[in-house]
């Protein structure tokens, strides 16, 4: 099978070939054109040139139905699902096996539970609505649906982002079964150790063109990973600047949390963050770390108090009013205004200061402020008129960050600031955060990414089972130490739901 595309705006003659029973990984920084390629293959976008061939014969994919008919199935990163359908209904949506009149809801639900268990080894309630599921459960439904469709080509776009290590193992086992059955698999991921584990061959895209490919059957994992990174960034990896040494300032703390807690999830937590400081909060999934950012910003209310510059804030709008900023984990849902331009997104938090008169907006002032911010953060494409929803994940995150920068926020709480963000954008985001701290902002970074934690923060709180198990200064911060504490004992340094670090990856410090 060969698929080739002529130049589109973002793709410049990309070639991709997948053989039956082959796993090809597609990697590249955000904005390299991976998603665009996939959307063309599935009929969501129409290519401006090029062709798709299956078994040597040219095929036309004008609509998603064509792709389904040809046996090309996709697990989309965005998990396009209808929230108010039940698990069973969504699972069989559009599948020939799902169409039987006089279906009983209960029977459908039971069948769905069984199918999901067979495909993924996990149990998901078949009668629940999609909107009631966790992100991981929704992903399991999507994976099962793709398996049930008996695909000839299966495309997975960042399938493991919401999954635990155990679920990832199960997914890889499922992929192994499909591969043995002769399914061609395209696997897209930012996690290089996953890619090297699962794929036979890695195709690297850069700036909408093929950068090269790495054959994994003949290369050792470590060598392959190093080569992939090289291809991705186009030559030698840029040296990340060293972190500024921690100086705990003796000024008054900008953010003080006192006894912030969430019943059954997080025990009372105290935290004081000084201007100029970046404090990390980390922990295993289920340790309560997921709730910390919401609680600190009072997006979720609970016991305890939060003070900004000495003033108590009771909800998230008070938090923002006190020059606080919240960069939530789910930027697609909570972060950017997808249907608004980059300029409008950037100015959303500072509208009051953009006009000559209160309440009146000066479009030229808005544009000027936005242009300045776009170049400062290196948002790509460098257009203030582009709709924020069309940007890649990393660039959306830059826009969210830029909004708070523009607003002059002095306390920032960031939840998983770089999940799903490529290496280059990460480096820029880290640099921006450090620059912010240097100008006297107080930052809290909640993250489960240990390299990020170790490379970025001045000190870190490590949670274990809902309580702070340790507070580590910059000198004592290391991935091993944090892992050991987070998993509940200095003597057990690895595993229990943790992903192993790959040696090849540069630490973005």
């Amino acid at each position: 099978m060969t698929k080739a595309f002529g130049p589109t705006e973002v793709l410049h003659g990309v070639d991709l070939a997948v053989g039956a029973g082959e796993v090809v990984a597609l990697v590249g920084e955000n904005g390299a054109g991976k998603s665009t390629l996939i959307k063309i293959l599935t009929g969501l976008y129409t290519p401006d040139g090029g062709s798709v061939r299956m078994d040597g014969a040219a095929v036309e994919i004008g609509r998603p139905q064509d792709a389904e008919r040809l046996g090309i199935h996709v697990i989309h990163q965005e998990r396009h699902q209808a929230g108010r359908l039940s698990v069973g209904e969504q699972l069989y949506l559009g599948l020939p096996t799902g169409s039987s009149a006089w279906r009983s809801r209960r029977a459908t639900a039971r069948r769905a539970e069984r199918d999901i268990f067979e495909a993924t080894g996990q149990r998901v309630p078949g009668r629940a609505l999609i909107s009631e599921l966790t992100v991981a459960q929704r992903q399991l439904v999507q994976i099962t649906r793709a398996v049930l469709a008996r695909p000839r080509v299966l495309i997975l776009d960042e399938p493991t982002a919401p999954l635990s290590a155990e679920e990832v193992d199960q997914l890889f086992a499922t992929l192994g079964t499909l591969r043995a059955a002769g399914v061609g698999i395209v696997y897209i991921s930012h996690y290089l150790q996953e890619v090297t584990r699962v794929a036979d061959r890695v195709e690297v895209l850069r700036n909408g063109a093929n950068a090269g490919s790495v054959d994994l059957t003949s290369t050792s994992q470590a060598d392959a990973a190093a080569r992939i990174v090289e291809l991705m960034v186009g030559g030698a990896v840029e040296e990340f600047e060293e972190g500024v040494p921690a100086v705990v300032p003796d000024t008054a703390p900008a953010l003080v949390a006192d006894g912030v807690a969430l019943g059954g999830v997080l025990e009372p937590l105290d935290l004081a963050v000084h201007p100029g400081e970046i404090v990390g909060v980390t922990g295993l999934v289920g340790s309560g770390v997921e709730a910390v950012a919401d609680l600190l910003t009072r997006a979720r209310r609970g016991p305890g108090t939060v003070r900004l510059h000495g003033r108590r804030v009771r909800d998230v709008s008070a938090f923002v009013a006190a020059r606080g900023a919240y960069v939530p984990a789910d930027r697609r849902e909570d972060g950017v205004l997808g249907n608004h331009s980059v300029a409008q997104n950037l100015s959303a938090a500072m509208l009051g200061r953009l006009g000559r008169w209160p309440g009146l907006l000066s479009p030229s002032a808005e544009r000027r402020a936005a242009r300045e911010m776009v170049s400062r953060l290196d948002v790509r494409p460098a257009s203030t008129a582009a709709l924020a929803g069309t940007l890649s994940g990393g660039n959306q995150q830059k826009v969210v960050l830029g909004r708070w920068l523009a607003a002059g926020s002095t306390v920032l709480v960031l939840d998983q600031p770089t999940s799903g963000v490529d290496i280059a954008s990460r480096a820029q985001i880290y640099a921006t955060l450090r620059a912010l701290a240097a100008t006297g902002a107080a930052l809290v970074v909640v993250t489960v990414d240990l390299e990020e934690l170790v490379g970025l923060v001045d000190r870190a709180l490590v949670l274990h089972r809902g309580a702070v198990a340790a507070e580590l200064s910059r000198e004592r911060l290391s991935i091993d130490t944090v892992l050991a504490i987070a998993s509940g004992g200095k003597d057990t340094p690895v595993d229990s739901g943790l992903r192993e670090p790959t040696e090849s990856q540069e630490v973005p410090a």
């Binding site: 929230g83 039987s100 009631e132 966790t134 649906r145 997921e290």
Partner: protein, 336 residues
């Protein structure tokens, strides 16, 4: 980027949460609860309310709105319940009026019953086909159907020369006064329509696919569903049922009344969108539409029986409907 503590909320994947369907508990039945309270209140206050004769009257009054509302429900199911971007057909009332007028004018001119019915339904279906086509082409349903509503109601006035046209004939008289096994003919017609529509929308994969399209068009498209076809079909069905309702209305009134479409439009939208009250997922449904239509008809009827001055009926009706909707809004907040 790689030493990562598995992101997401993985542990929850292994626990089986109670679906909100059950969690919602007592609130799930709030729609029915309010309905029951109102019926009980009327029957205590006005002994005539629950007599079989009066119930027949209520059901017959409800039948027109229920049938047209059922068609509207197809559009809301397939287009989504966002009023601005989702499925809506403002021409539904005008289409009903147009169908009634066409039938009455042709009948008055001596055309045979079958030919007159075919012409009336054909006119309605034509409006639906246009609605579906322009919506599929990407026009906003709210504005596009506002435009076709103007065209349909104008045609109504042109064809009827803006005067009432009496409607006589065996079939029309039967629809007005006849009965099947003691059930008024209009109610029997409603029962047939409701049963078929319930089956189609709630028991077939076509129905599930329609709801999927309305919930997330992208999800449906990604699942390989022909979204445009589902959308177009829903508008044609809506106009078709509006035509049936319009002919039934003209039969019940023994005449086509020019401009009546505008009067019934809002009640049709009301009974359809209110049907979400009776759904645990807050989705529109055919049985819910029928219940809502009966509820609205019972309100007018009961308030009149209670001796509420006719000027006050609209206000009382509005307040009670707000109560029902508030109960649902409360439930939506609890279960989300």
């Amino acid at each position: 980027m790689t030493a990562t503590i598995a992101p997401g909320n993985a542990p929850a994947a292994r626990t089986v949460p109670e679906p909100a369907v059950r969690r919602a508990g007592i609130l799930r039945w709030s729609g029915y609860g309010v309905l029951l309270v109102v019926v009980l209140g009327f029957s205590v206050g006005a002994p005539a309310f629950l007599t079989s004769g009066n119930v027949s009257t209520i059901l017959a009054q409800a039948s027109v709105y229920a049938i047209a509302g059922t068609g509207f429900t197809f559009v809301v199911a397939t287009g989504g319940d966002d009023v601005l971007r989702g499925g809506i057909d403002l021409s539904v009332g005008a289409t009903a009026g147009l169908a009634g007028t066409v039938v009455a004018v042709l009948a008055a001119a001596g055309t045979g019953t079958l030919a007159a019915l075919a012409a009336g339904l054909g006119a309605a279906l034509a409006v639906g086909a246009v609605n579906g086509a322009v919506v599929v082409a990407g026009l906003r349903p709210l504005l596009a159907t506002l435009a076709t509503m103007g065209v349909a109601s104008s045609l109504d006035l042109v064809i009827s020369s803006n005067v009432k046209t009496p409607l006589d004939g065996a079939l029309y008289d039967y629809l007005r006064e006849g009965s099947v096994a003691g059930v008024p003919a209009s109610v029997a017609l409603l029962i047939v329509v409701a049963l078929v529509a319930t089956w189609a929308l709630h028991k077939t994969s076509w129905g599930v696919n329609s709801f999927a399209t309305g919930d997330s068009a992208t999800a449906a498209r990604v699942a390989g569903l022909p979204v445009a076809r589902y959308t177009w079909t829903s508008y044609v069905l809506c106009s078709g049922l509006a035509g049936v309702a319009g002919i039934l209305l003209a039969s019940r009134l023994s005449a086509s009344v020019p401009g009546i479409g505008t009067q019934i439009l809002l009640d049709i939208i009301l009974v359809s969108t209110m049907s979400a009250v009776f759904s645990s997922r807050l989705l529109v449904s055919v049985p819910g539409t029928v219940l809502s239509a009966v509820f609205v008809a019972a309100l007018s009827n009961g308030l009149t029986l209670l001796g509420v001055a006719s000027q006050w009926v609209g206000a009382a009706k509005g307040v009670l409907i707000l109560v029902v909707l508030a109960a649902v809004a409360l439930r939506g907040r609890k279960s989300s």
